[in-house]
């Protein structure tokens, strides 16, 4: 008969120190409800953290894009409400603070007359 027999099991050997270690093993009593509650809460927190870490690049990208879009819309709205620049009498206005011209002293030179 073929079966998957577990090799090297403890039953193949004589007990070590008359089973002293087996007799000394601890059997901790666990408050299973408290354990499960704590574990399930930790699992939820961990999975929430993991999903936040997974989506955070997308969230950051989306927020940057939305801020850029908002700024663009605001600029467009401002540009339509801006006052147009008006030029009086169709001439360009030039403002000069002070002009000093040095004129030569004495009589003005005569212009040659062409006949």
């Amino acid at each position: 008969m073929f079966f998957n027999r577990k090799r090297n099991s403890v039953m193949d050997e004589p007990p070590f120190l008359d089973g002293l270690l087996y007799e000394s093993r601890l059997e901790p009593e666990v408050d299973s409800e408290r354990f499960d509650r704590r574990l399930l809460r930790n699992i939820r927190v961990t999975s929430a953290k993991a999903s936040f870490q997974y989506w955070s690049p997308a969230i950051v990208g989306a927020s940057v894009a939305s801020m850029a879009l908002l700024a663009l819309l605001q600029m467009l709205a401002n540009s339509s409400s801006m006052k147009p620049i008006r030029i009086l009498n169709g001439d360009a206005a030039q403002k000069v603070d002070s002009i000093t011209v040095d004129l030569p002293e004495g009589p003005a030179p005569r212009l040659p007359v062409v006949r």
Partner: protein, 186 residues
Amino acid sequence: MFNIGISQGVATRGIEDARFLERCRNGDESALAILIDRHRARLIRVAANILRDSNEAEDVAQEAFLKAFRELGSLREDRAFSGYIYRICVRLCMDKLRQKRAEPAEFDFVENHSGTAIENKIVVHKLLDQLSPDLRATLVLREMEQLSYEEIAEFMHVPVGTVRSRLHVARERFRVLWINATKEPR
């Protein structure tokens, strides 16, 4: 006949674990609770016997479950979940023991050793502290958890030959420590 029962039981448990894992992956929290319930007690007991501290064992078991569920993607075969989670637990225990090794406990012998079960437990606890983490974990998994060499090799992620040699050394050292600790002082 007894061994057939054990192997069939292990195989069935593996298949059931795989079924619950599949449900967990689909977001079924009740399957998660069932999986925890199936492995909780044994996982805590393994950790408690390696660390000889029940409170610390609970923390390690919690950490092992968390790590196992977080890294489920690295599990190649769902039926091997049991081995996978115990391997994580044993590794965490070894890490804890290595951290503690910085302050080894001093212990010479027991005065008027009467050999009661409680006294033996205390002496065994102190003597296990004298062994290195590898030897201690191997000895505990074999003698207290009654695991086969193959299971210990799987849990400790070492070849079966290494388990044999570690177990041989651990038994010899423990035997010498036990004799020295319980013999009558001259």
